[in-house]
């Protein structure tokens, strides 16, 4: 009995490293195993991802239920050397990381199972599975790492393999074009991030996120670094001025890759959240400029604070992102590109909530180092984080459905599709579930997070929530149009021989659809057990620092 417990404890202790190491090793074993048999290779890839997911859930279960933070220092020993030098590379996993890792593992599992049948007709599948596993390793690395430079390295691993996967069908000129766009944007983004890391390193001699968060002073260089970090990560996340790569990349990549790309995009979004709220957490309410002037005989006095500026910029980008995403989705006729534009709009919803949360930071508790948010601000933060999960599932499901239709009909243009509901009834049901979830209809999961976002942004500014609701309705219109033109309508002769998607694709879609319904039916359960610990982890950034530097004084639980 005791031995068993030890095994679990050991696995738990090493799981942060294993989550990255298993897919990384598996990636390079795949071509070898592919020499034996195609089926064994596919099963091996699924096994590797399932094993990784097992460790993710083991780790996440411990973190989310106990509220603990796991650090894994490579090479062993304490996080800081004697004398307090932060030279060791470490992974630091708190509620937010665990939350993101769960999303990534669901998407990875669905993507790999889906690939089994979906990619069967393609050649070069040994390389395909290697790249997929590499991308998964990169994604988990980005999510789990506690080191700035490590973050950059994993970001590059994820984006290089993602680019190769987007351009996987090199016989299509547009796929190659999309891959090139993606690599240009992500290379520039990554270099901006590296430049910011260098700026931070030059001042504080540290690359460790927790140590940087402890030291940061918000000097002029820090402000430049913050701007570079946000710009770089926004490029990778597809927020509006830098969104043009996203519809191409999402639309041209094979559907099984697109669902992983959704995960990589959200890992970048997580990066931006971690940088702003943990790294700069201590200075988030710092006064940038004191304004004092005379307006018609009345003196106007107010302070421009960092969180105000950040919140304002993020909200502006969010509204642009939602608007442009929805409007472009309305006029698009290519199925996958349309979903990609809807994905842009959904990202807009997340940052809308996050921007409102930043605006609502009232003060920093100096004893516990936690950000004191107003009640709507805290609700907005939870809504935004919850929406990351829901968006990943909804958009992921829609992309898988679009892939299934492409697989069955070899057709992507909506004008040429029609009457598919007759032959593909399961796919139709999955599409309906995805449709209502994305549009935020009760009782599916999109509603649960969107209602939180509407309610909280209404209290920040009513106009925001009006725009959000309006665009949600437009999204519904977009997808109802798709449903009508692709699934309903008269029977078309050329689709008479269309068959239902193969089993592995149905299983992958089924897993996600079940999760969507489960979250939709029990939003309270998910909110309390998964989302709230993640939001608390972001708010109580003192704990994150304390875990690495135990001299940093805080009490363990910040109060709300």
């Amino acid at each position: 009995m005791n031995g068993e417990l030890d095994l679990i404890a050991e696995m738990l202790k090493h799981s942060p490293a294993l989550i990255v190491a298993i897919p990384l090793l598996g990636a390079f074993l795949t071509p070898l195993i592919g020499k034996i048999n195609d089926k064994i290779r596919n099963a091996f890839a699924v096994f590797i991802v399932a094993l990784t997911s097992f460790f993710v859930f083991l780790l996440a279960n411990d973190i989310l239920s106990n509220g603990s933070i796991h650090t894994y220092v490579f090479g062993g020993g304490p996080a800081l050397t004697e004398g307090g030098f932060a030279v060791r590379i470490l992974f630091e996993v708190d509620g937010m990381n665990a939350f993101m890792a769960i999303i990534a593992s669901i998407l990875a599992l669905a993507g790999v199972i889906y690939s089994w049948a979906f990619m069967k007709e393609n050649t070069g599948l040994d390389k395909y599975y290697t790249l997929i596993l590499l991308m998964i390793a990169g994604m988990f690395g980005m999510i789990l790492t506690g080191d700035m430079f490590n973050f950059f390295v994993f970001l590059e691993i994820a984006s290089i393999s993602a680019c190769a996967l987007i351009a996987f069908r090199t016989n299509q000129g547009k796929a190659v074009d999309a891959g090139f766009k993606y690599i240009v944007i992500s290379a520039i983004g990554a270099l901006l991030i590296l430049f910011a890391i260098a700026l931070l390193y030059s001042q504080y001699n540290a690359l460790n996120m927790a140590v940087l968060a402890r030291e940061i002073q918000l000097t002029f260089l820090d402000k430049i670094a913050l701007a570079l970090l946000i710009a770089g990560l926004a490029m990778k996340a597809g927020i509006v001025p830098m969104h043009m790569w996203l519809p191409d990349a999402y639309g041209r990549a094979p559907a099984s890759v697109t669902i992983l790309l959704v995960g990589a995009t959200q890992a970048s979004l997580y990066g931006a959240l971690r940088m702003t709220s943990t790294l700069y957490g201590k200075n988030i309410i710092a006064v940038l400029k004191h304004v004092d002037f005379d307006l018609f005989g009345q003196s106007v006095v107010f302070d421009i604070t960092l969180n105000g500026v950040l919140g304002f910029i993020i909200l502006l980008l969010a509204i642009l992102t939602i608007f442009i995403g929805v409007l472009m989705a309305l006029k698009e006729t290519n199925f996958k590109r349309m979903i990609a534009f809807a994905a842009i709009a959904e990202i807009g919803y997340m940052i809308l909530a996050i921007g409102s949360a930043f605006l609502a930071v009232a003060s920093i508790d100096t004893v516990t180092s936690s950000a004191i948010l107003s009640q709507p601000g805290y609700m907005a933060l939870k809504g935004g984080i919850f929406h990351i999960l829901n968006d990943a599932l909804d958009i992921g499901l829609l992309f898988l459905v679009a892939g299934a239709i492409y697989y069955a009909t070899k057709e992507t243009s909506l004008n040429k599709l029609g009457g598919l509901a007759r032959n593909m009834k399961y796919t139709t049901i999955f599409f309906l579930i995805g449709l209502f979830a994305v549009a935020g209809m009760p009782p599916l999961n999109g509603f649960a997070s969107k209602i939180l976002i509407y309610e909280s942004t209404y209290q920040v500014n009513p106009i925001l929530s009006i725009i959000a609701i309006l665009c949600s309705i437009l999204l519904l219109a977009v997808f109802v149009k798709v449903f009508h033109s692709a699934f309903l309508g008269p029977k078309q002769e050329k689709f008479d021989n269309v068959k239902e998607a193969p089993k592995s694709m149905l299983i992958a879609m089924g897993i996600i659809a079940c999760l969507i319904i489960f979250i939709g039916l029990f939003p309270e359960y998910v909110l309390n057990n998964i989302v709230t610990p993640a939001a608390d982890a972001l708010v109580n950034f003192g704990n994150y620092i304390h875990e690495v530097d135990s001299n940093y004084v805080i009490s363990l639980i910040g109060g709300f």
């Binding site: 430079f149 590059e156 351009a167 000129g173 190659v176 074009d177 430049f195």
Partner: protein, 117 residues
């Protein structure tokens, strides 16, 4: 003043790189732009490590009181160079494929064909 020159070079490299990416339409020139930005960032990292009269950070055993340059940025630069090579190689492969499909490297003429496949 002499110690400021590397920083000026860093800014110049990054700006020239950005100019090339934004305003040049030739894909190869865009790739060159990205490598220029990368060189700029690498130069910045190396410059951070350097101190006046410093030597390479290697102990021979007997020296005392030497000023050494910081080893960490060197390690970062090496990693970043390796990643940069991979990115550049991948980009050039894609450029070759694009050229095969479209017989041109002009970014305005690529991916413009109709949506029907």
């Amino acid at each position: 003043m002499i110690y400021q020159i590397p920083y000026i070079a860093v800014v110049a490299l990054i700006l020239i790189g950005l100019y090339a990416i934004i305003f040049r339409r030739n894909l190869i020139k865009m790739v060159i732009g990205i490598t220029l930005i990368e060189s700029g960032v690498n130069l910045f990292l190396i410059t951070l490590a350097f101190q006046k009269d410093s030597t390479a950070p290697i102990y021979h055993g007997s020296e005392t009181g030497l000023t050494m340059s910081l080893p960490v940025p060197h390690a970062l630069t090496l990693t970043s160079i390796v990643i940069g090579v991979a990115v550049t190689a991948l980009m050039l492969t894609l450029v070759i494929h694009i050229y095969k499909h479209y017989q041109t490297l002009d970014a305005r003429k690529i991916g413009m064909e109709g949506d029907e496949e």
